[in-house]
Subunit: 146 residues, 2 copies
DNA sequence: TTTTTTACTTTTGTTTCGCAAGCAAAAATA
DNA sequence: TATTTTTGCTTGCGAAACAAAAGTAAAAAA
């Protein structure tokens, strides 16, 4: 796997890999919404098509952003879990949300605005740490093939 | 202009607007590489096609991320400058570079690795502040139609 | 006055996206 | 045990986005 990088710029190279409509949305669904199975993703608000989901999950796995595994007692359902490389995208996702919160409300007034946005506004690093910690605890708790 | 948002999630909404191959690359070229004119962009490492460049510049302007203006003594050449909304993308760009630096080198070894990466690694917020400050100083210095 | 530069648009592919349908294996149910 | 449902895909096809090449028109430079 070599996603054909445009040049040697670190900014651009990240976008060569993540810069599309779906890659970071899938990571967000795993990190924030706890989605783990193919089914989980298809039932999302964002309504991703199954062929695209399939393609992107493969890409994310090849990149090492997610791992594909199973629960010990289920041979059918695949479990998709974030790796360290995937979890390291948390600060990036947080910056996306911070920018949306500040600058997108004028053209998209229905962006969610609940209590959970308070911590994001007052201390984005604490917000990032909290969701990272939560995900790591989950990884330590659930059973899956390693 | 209403870029058809998939849902009310702040993460996803940012990606509805910025999640493609070019939007953030153009912002980066302005912020980091000082590109200001159509010509400047066409001469980039990333080699954007002129039709796409034209479309994306329009989109960025409609979004309020950039402004299109001219120098007082030149009726031909357009000047593209970042607005506050565009400058506010600095922390996001910095996170992209931080992640590339840490996690993309194994599959893309020629990513630039000069002295400027040191500050990024040791203090990313200082790095972000430095480039934001530099851009603001430039805005205060150059002449353009307001 | 002619040439060059700048900022595009147009044309014509090609690739990616995305809906709908289909399918096979595993799991759940009767 | 047999049948139905669930899960995780793949396939086919139309639509949209992307991209290379060429063309254009106005301004600036020579």
């Amino acid at each position: 796997m070599r996603p054909e990088f445009r040049c040697d710029c670190p900014f651009t190279s990240a976008l060569d890999v993540l810069g599309d409509k779906w890659m970071l949305v899938i990571v967000k669904q795993m990190l924030i919404e706890g989605k783990e199975t193919f089914k989980d993703f298809t039932e999302s608000d964002e309504a991703i098509a199954t062929n695209i989901l399939s393609t992107k999950l493969k890409l994310l796995e090849e990149l090492g952003v997610i791992m594909k595994t199973k629960r010990p007692n289920n041979k059918k359902t695949n479990l998709y879990l974030l790796t360290d490389k995937g979890l390291a995208l948390t600060p990036l996702l947080v910056e996306l949300a911070v920018w949306s919160d500040k600058y997108l409300r004028d053209i998209h007034p229905t962006i969610v605005n609940g209590e959970e946005m308070e911590l994001l506004r007052s201390d984005k690093m604490a917000f990032a740490s909290a969701i990272e910690k939560k995900y790591k605890e989950k990884l330590a708790t659930i059973q899956y093939m390693q």
